[in-house]
Point group: C2
Chain length 119, copies 2
């Protein structure tokens, strides 16, 4: 399909064990105003380690369980999908300036952050 929609990272994920830090670029710091009042947030991130082959997979076994029949990726939460955008609801632990400490994010270290929404 010819149309391309350009997405620009607003920051990057840093893994710290069970915790993740959302490092938001200073140009978007204003967008964090009042975020510390949220208990949960939705994080949209780019799954930057997915290979082109993984992005072309349109079906997968649910939860990777080969005993279950394959389903289309639009019927799953599988990481394989044409646009490698992950979406996870996280718990906000604390904020230090442009850095949000969160729990429950299944994003790899270095993943570009696309968006944060109240959750």
């Amino acid at each position: 399909m010819p149309e391309t929609l350009p997405v620009h990272p607003v920051g990057y994920v840093r893994r710290r064990g069970e915790e993740s830090v959302l490092e938001i670029s200073s140009e978007f710091a204003e967008a964090l105003l009042g975020v510390e009042q949220q208990e949960h947030l939705w994080v949209l991130f780019w799954m930057h380690r997915l290979s082109p082959e993984e992005r072309r997979r349109l079906r997968a076994h649910p939860m990777g369980d080969r005993s279950r029949p394959q389903r289309g990726v639009f019927a799953l939460h599988s990481p394989f999908r044409p646009n490698p955008i992950g979406m996870t609801r996280v718990r906000l632990l604390s904020r230090e300036g442009n850095r949000l400490h969160v729990e429950g994010l299944d994003a790899l270290d270095g993943s570009p952050i696309i968006d944060i929404k109240s959750g």
Copy 2:
């Protein structure tokens, strides 16, 4: 920020009154395998009518209510955000081939669909 992540539409939203139709491109039809077993789905879509000015707004009044103090867009579900990606949980009414009839989608007619996930 220089990095650009290219997103490609997997289909388009067609509004039919209260109902919306997700028209998925035939090249991604396989990704719909088994989707009719889902009662709810998450739809990620591109808010294509947002102006560049609206995308630059980093704070807004919650629910557009001017009596409430402004907050950053990352603490809100406001449509204003640097990457104009909407995320809505919808009810799946029916499937006809590559077309999913859904209820509850707050996307304008013609919005590019970026992803569908089980919900």
